[in-house]
């Protein structure tokens, strides 16, 4: 199936740990994103990459480091996890850099205890 897939779907970890979330898209898209959705369902952009190059870096703590090994993958590494990092993280992709719909993955629910 063509899709944006993220792993893991659920991630429970303790404060201070380091964790990674992986994302892959097989849609042939050039641009990939990470969004964070809080408990009130508010979706906020974190990062965007186009052809492995960072193009958007919103005000995100530098404990969050995205990595794009190729244009089909955008991983998110989080250092020194904090309680406030608990949220659902969505990966998304779209064709090109112009106006077109984002295709979202099904999310990774991160719970920091």
């Amino acid at each position: 199936d063509t899709a944006v897939s993220q792993t893991p779907k659920y991630l429970v970890t303790q404060m201070g740990n380091d964790k990674s979330i992986k994302c892959e898209q097989n849609l042939g898209h050039d641009t990939m994103y990470w969004y964070k959705q809080d408990s009130k369902k508010f979706l906020k952009i974190m990062f965007s990459y186009n052809n492995k190059e960072l193009i958007i870096n919103e005000t995100v703590p530098n404990r969050f480091s995205p990595k794009s090994p190729d244009k089909a993958h955008l991983n998110l590494h989080i250092n020194s996890l904090e309680l406030g990092d608990s949220a659902v993280y969505f990966c998304a992709s779209k064709a090109g850099t112009g106006n077109s719909p984002l295709h979202f993955g099904n999310g990774t629910r991160l719970t920091v205890t």
Binding site: L43, T97, N99, F104, N106
Partner: protein
């Protein structure tokens, strides 16, 4: 920066009735607008989009209306069905990279 807000956080409609979900945006330079549906435990799913050179666009049972004068966007769902129950987000492009900024979502509940 852009701010996007939905008028109602929750909306309940009877099955078979029409639903209207409203959204307001702040940046008059925004030229691309989009609606997403998010079901529980899933990612947002694209419904319909519209560019600023149009004021109406129709899909299957859905219509998006754009009023640039008052910076207002609405999603109309005809003959609402139980499967339409979800959270609906409007998105508006903004910023130097024209990234999508989303409103906080409206929870649509379809009553039997």
């Amino acid at each position: 920066g852009e701010s996007v807000g939905l008028h109602l956080p929750t909306l309940s409609v009877q099955e078979g009735d029409n639903s209207i979900i409203n959204c307001a945006y702040s940046n008059s330079a925004s030229d691309y607008f989009i609606w997403y549906k998010q079901e529980s435990g899933k990612g947002p799913q694209f419904i319909i989009d519209i560019r600023s050179n149009m004021d109406k666009r129709q899909g299957q049972r859905v219509t998006v209306l754009l009023n640039k004068t008052v910076k207002h966007l609405s999603l109309q769902i005809a003959a609402t069905q139980p499967g339409d129950s979800a959270v609906y987000f409007c998105g508006v492009n903004s910023g130097s990279a024209r990234q999508l900024t989303f409103g906080s979502g409206t929870q649509l509940t379809v009553l039997p």
